[in-house]
């Protein structure tokens, strides 16, 4: 029993006037091939000059869009129905259509530059013109933004906006390959602009040297087709998500930590409003401090290169359209250490506060507060009081007291590999995770200074020790070993 192809009315006169034709085939593509061999006139309506299915031709196998299966390779078996379903496109007046109608032509120079794209039917002249007509806003020019921006510029995206408020630091260069050694100290947006213009002078670069905020996000997003999140903190991630949902724009997401990366496309409006957003996946941010940043936890330099390149790939596919499959409603997980990719299915949460049926968030909120990084006014006093309880000492003062011969034990709560990079002489290493279990190693009769890299983990260690019942005097070294290197001993390397 062969496969049945159902022909839409518009094409019936090219198929001998019938609505159904039976062919022998093992894949959807093969079925169409057979059909257009016997009915050659159909071919020019189904396929374009590059022999690719026209982008308004949808093919369904038994009610499933082959784009959601294996495309033209979707297997078919006897008795299946392959339906040709027209997506009806047109109109002259919407913004996008105006863009399509006025999609800029390519110069001979550009044709030479993009030839490896142009010879693929999936991109072709039409796709390359779409890229040229498109605009992308990248949030951050760090580890993710570096490969992302470079590939988007190289691919010929017409207008690239870059948002960053930071300056290039030596510790960025291990992974942020858009910046070079001679850029240290320069604003990142300037360094990135130079590099991107050098890669492709045809790209129009717009720099926004500012911190993305609830006040400026919607205004910035309005002028771009696709938003790409290359940030490394939760408040900005929720801000980018909510602003994208409110503006109806796709949010190409990537995140990295140590050896693990994630990527997805959050686009609430996708798939007829069935796309998941970041909040559908993570309704609430983790408690502050639970998930360390890359500055605290480290990151393999290549990892953002891989994840950022995946974001560039997805961005380009969103612009090209066609029958590609994007990461909408899919979360890609990557483990660089085990070299393993995994994938999770995402679903829109009908109760999502920003993209659900009864959304309660209609405008941007205070994301620092939402992520618990800024206590609400009523709690401020309490937290001040709590902070006042933990005693602090500056690096200079500690040095003075040690030189004077005061009896002070110093506990370093960093990780052993950090200790190996640099340490203050005469200290005891007890990583934060072991601090309560190894409390007995700290003599409560002696004065104790606790330190880490910057002062954050040591404050937590003091809190844990107190809660565990440690009764001795605990003093936090303000600014950690970094302050020691700055103010006391410049021979100690900073990392």
């Amino acid at each position: 029993m062969p496969v049945t192809i159902s022909i839409p009315t518009a094409l019936r006169q090219y198929a001998g006037g019938t609505s159904e034709i039976e062919v022998e085939a093992t894949t959807a593509g093969e079925a169409l091939e057979r059909l257009t061999t016997t009915h050659a006139e159909l071919r020019k309506h189904l396929y374009n000059d590059q022999n690719a299915l026209r982008n308004f031709v949808n093919v369904y196998v038994n009610d499933e869009d082959i784009r959601h299966a294996q495309g033209q390779d979707t297997p078919v078996k006897d008795g299946d129905t392959v339906m040709i379903i027209p997506a009806i496109a047109g109109g002259a007046t919407t913004e996008q259509e105006a863009v399509a109608a006025n999609a800029p032509a390519l110069s001979n120079e550009e044709i030479a530059r993009y030839s490896r794209h142009l010879i693929m039917p999936e991109v072709g002249m039409e796709g390359q013109r779409r890229l040229k007509a498109a605009s992308v806003l990248m949030i951050g020019t760090g580890g993710l933004g570096a490969p992302l921006g470079m590939y988007l510029a190289a691919a010929g995206v017409g207008r690239l906006g870059i948002v960053d408020f930071d300056v290039v630091d030596e510790s960025n260069l291990q992974r942020q390959i858009i910046h070079g050694t001679s850029d240290v100290g320069r604003p990142k947006v300037d360094s990135a602009r130079d590099r991107l213009s050098n890669i492709n002078p045809h790209v129009h670069i717009e720099t926004h040297e500012t911190r993305l905020s609830s006040e400026n996000a919607l205004g910035l997003f309005r002028d771009y087709d696709v938003i790409v999140d290359g940030t490394d903190n939760f408040p900005t991630r929720y801000l980018v998500n909510d602003a994208c949902v409110l503006a109806g724009k796709p949010n190409v997401y990537g995140s990295i930590f140590r050896f693990e990366g994630q990527a997805s496309v959050f686009w609430a409006a996708a798939d007829n409003g069935r796309g998941a957003c970041y909040r559908c996946l993570y309704p609430e941010p983790p408690p502050p401090g639970l998930v360390p940043s890359c500055a605290e936890g480290g990151v393999l330099g290549v990892l953002p290169g891989i994840v950022g390149a995946i974001q560039a790939n997805e961005t380009i596919k969103l612009i090209l359209g066609g029958d590609s499959q994007t990461l909408v409603n899919r979360l890609l997980l990557f483990d660089a250490w085990k070299m393993r990719f995994r994938e999770l299915k995402l679903r829109k949460d009908p109760a999502c506060p920003v993209c659900g049926e009864h959304a309660t968030i209609k405008e941007l909120i205070d994301y620092e507060e939402f992520c618990g990084l800024k206590p609400p006014a009523s709690q401020e006093e309490q937290s001040d009081a709590r902070e006042a309880k933990s005693e602090e000492i500056t690096a200079t003062e500690l040095k003075r007291r040690l030189d004077r011969g005061d009896d002070i034990q110093i506990i370093d709560v960093r990780e052993p590999n950090e200790y190996e990079i640099a340490h203050i002489p005469g200290t005891t290493l007890i990583p934060l995770g072991q601090i309560t279990n190894r409390m007995s190693e700290i003599d409560p009769a002696r004065e104790t200074v606790v330190h880490c890299k910057m002062g954050g983990r040591s404050a937590k260690a003091i809190e844990s020790l107190r809660r565990a019942g440690f009764e001795g005097r605990l003093i936090n070294l303000a600014g950690g070993i970094t302050a020691w290197a700055n103010d006391v001993d410049p021979s100690v390397p900073k990392y």
């Binding site: 009806i88 047109g90 409003g273």
Partner: protein, 143 residues
């Protein structure tokens, strides 16, 4: 030639006005005769004032919506004979984009809707079989 009576034409105009400044769209359900002439039996409006994604894809009518319309037509023993859409603040002439995305045989009825959400001219178009251009199609008002 397409036969579209006053009542059907009014339905298309009202739909265009209701959706202004967005585009309206819908299917034309009816029958073909042996000579390829079309008679509209029913105007079948499709949702509009589209979500962002549909605008991004430049679709007027999505596959699932088309399938619903087609099933409806079949249930009445009819066919989809064309579609209609509005051009807000723009003449009712197909664009290059319309041409690149058109299907043969079908009627493409376009209504121009101007300032104050007032429907103006309404014309019907049919693409040439070689896909080179649209020709205007005569609209018969029927009896």
């Amino acid at each position: 030639m397409i036969t579209l009576n006053r009542e059907q034409e009014d339905a298309i105009r009202r739909h265009g006005e209701a959706e202004y400044p967005h585009e309206c769209c819908g299917l034309l359900v009816g029958r073909f005769d042996e000579a390829g002439r079309k008679t509209v039996v029913e105007v079948y409006p499709i949702s509009n004032a589209r979500e962002a994604e549909a605008r991004h894809n430049r679709s007027l009518i999505l596959p699932a919506e088309y399938m619903r319309g087609e099933r409806h037509a079949r249930s009445l023993g009819l066919d989809v004979v064309g579609n209609y859409h509005s051009h807000p603040n723009h003449p009712c002439v197909p664009s290059q984009f319309d041409l690149e995305h058109a299907w043969p045989t079908w009627s493409y009825v376009i209504v121009s809707v101007g300032e104050g959400a007032r429907a103006r001219e309404l014309r019907s178009w049919e693409m040439r079989a070689d896909r080179s251009r649209f020709d205007e199609e005569e609209i018969s008002r029927g009896s």
